[in-house]
Symmetry: C2
Subunit: 250 residues, 2 copies
DNA sequence: CCAACTGGTCTGGTTACTAGACCACTAGAC
DNA sequence: GTCTAGTGGTCTAGTAACCAGACCAGTTGG
């Protein structure tokens, strides 16, 4: 009886294995870069030989992954010319699954609500537990953001490092990773959102408020600072989505 | 410059691909069943032919996965006899990674704290949003648990269905999945914990309190009921760990 | 116009997996 | 103790995915 339960149930570990090939995984990674805005429409990818070396796979595998993407109209591959991103509509071939398997399109509101909750808790712990060396690292990361205001890719890299460092300072690995996951989920649309005039400057200002609250060990100020920042992100993301939908309906 | 950032950074999507074979994935799934307590020391696995058919892979692949496990001393494979579980110490070959990749051994306290936080939020929403048909389903799941008090595997299956149904009733997919992830993380040790005299009866009593709070739409009672239940789980899990460590040091 | 770099194609090889057949051992029923 | 059904063990032939390298053809920028 017990064995039948193992074999027959839905979502049991013994259900069919759907294996992903290396080329599928590589294609997924490219799609993730595009969906998250690190790669923009118009950007050229590194060469196939360079990608193969960096990712530790054969050039054939890279070419197979690019074939998947070009077939879906996401990239353009032309002999002799650099491969270019031509669409950021990656459909299901997007961000890797965060929760136990499948990619799920969560409602933006759900992610927003979840992130507010987790970050409030992170704030209350971080204000008590943050270490001096972490404060120094966070300050450097804000400096790096200021140095990158003209370079959206570098800014996003520093932005992510900033958020994960703040999250980790709470001292609870589960909360830190939950917060990071929710932050990453919202990378969707971020590249376009920070393209708005003044967006990067506003983010940096918010980050300095967060740093000041951490330095002061002020849990209420930190929770408020993170909350204000997240609401601003939420609003700017919705603005981007509204613009996208308006253009789509024209 | 932007391209160099893509290629050079740590933890970027373009870092080396470490591909897992089908047999590795199958081995991982078996290990997950053992680690989570669904399979116990002494249990026999289904036959290789049956597993191959159920999982949609070849018998060779199943054999390769079992070879991995037998090499690690987890299962015993003897010609003509059924393959048996001989150890539940699966080491790193355990529960699949929950957050973006690697298996991480979170401190039990961190998981406990995270779960308390998420479940409180779930409770406040679920009390308002739970649907009548969901209440009916939850009651049936408690009935199923009562019918399974003598069968730990069936009890755990119904237990998991109970928790995920309660979590989903909050109406926020992100919170629901976060709670489910944290619940699943604690399946480690659960089989042994419910083996204690009266443990299943106590769980069922707690579940009835939770159902009553949902039926009454009482957010405070629901938050309290989930909190009391989680603390009991935490305490019983720690007791199991203490016993395991005491035996290991003898 | 030319050179460097790019993508495109091809060859020979290895590895992982598949499907099936057949052999040898175990466990339970009688 | 014997027998049978079911089990694991071994082998063969085949396919698919990936790898490394060589060479060809197109693009781009100086």
């Amino acid at each position: 009886m017990g064995e039948n339960a193992l074999l027959a149930g839905q979502n049991t570990p013994l259900e069919k294995v759907t294996h992903r090939s290396v080329k599928d995984e590589v294609a997924e990674r490219f799609a993730t870069l595009i969906a998250s805005g690190v790669l923009n429409v118009g950007d050229a990818l590194p060469s196939e030989r360079e990608l193969a070396s960096t990712m530790g796979v054969s050039r054939e595998t890279i070419r197979g992954a690019l074939l998947i993407l070009s077939t879906k109209g996401i990239v353009s591959v032309v002999q002799g010319a650099r491969t270019k991103v031509v669409s950021d509509d990656v459909g299901g071939l997007g961000l890797s699954a965060f929760f136990n398997g499948l990619v799920t399109e969560y409602a933006l509101e759900d992610v927003h609500e979840g992130r507010l909750m987790v970050e409030e808790r992170v704030a209350r712990l971080a204000a008590q537990r943050v270490k001096p060396e972490t404060l120094a690292a966070i300050e450097k990361l804000i400096d790096a953001q200021e140095a990158a205001t003209g370079d959206p890719v570098r800014f996003l890299i520093a932005d992510r490092a900033f958020h994960t460092t703040v999250y980790q300072s709470c001292g609870n690995a589960v909360l830190s990773d939950l917060a990071t996951t929710l932050y990453s989920y919202q990378l969707d649309h971020r590249r376009r959102a920070i393209g708005a005039p003044g967006a990067i400057a506003q983010s940096i200002a918010d980050h300095r408020v967060i740093l000041a609250a951490l330095q002061a060990g002020d849990a209420d100020a930190l929770a408020n600072g993170l909350g204000v920042h997240e609401r601003r992100i939420y609003d700017s993301t919705r603005a981007v989505l509204a613009t996208t939908q308006k253009k789509a309906s024209e």
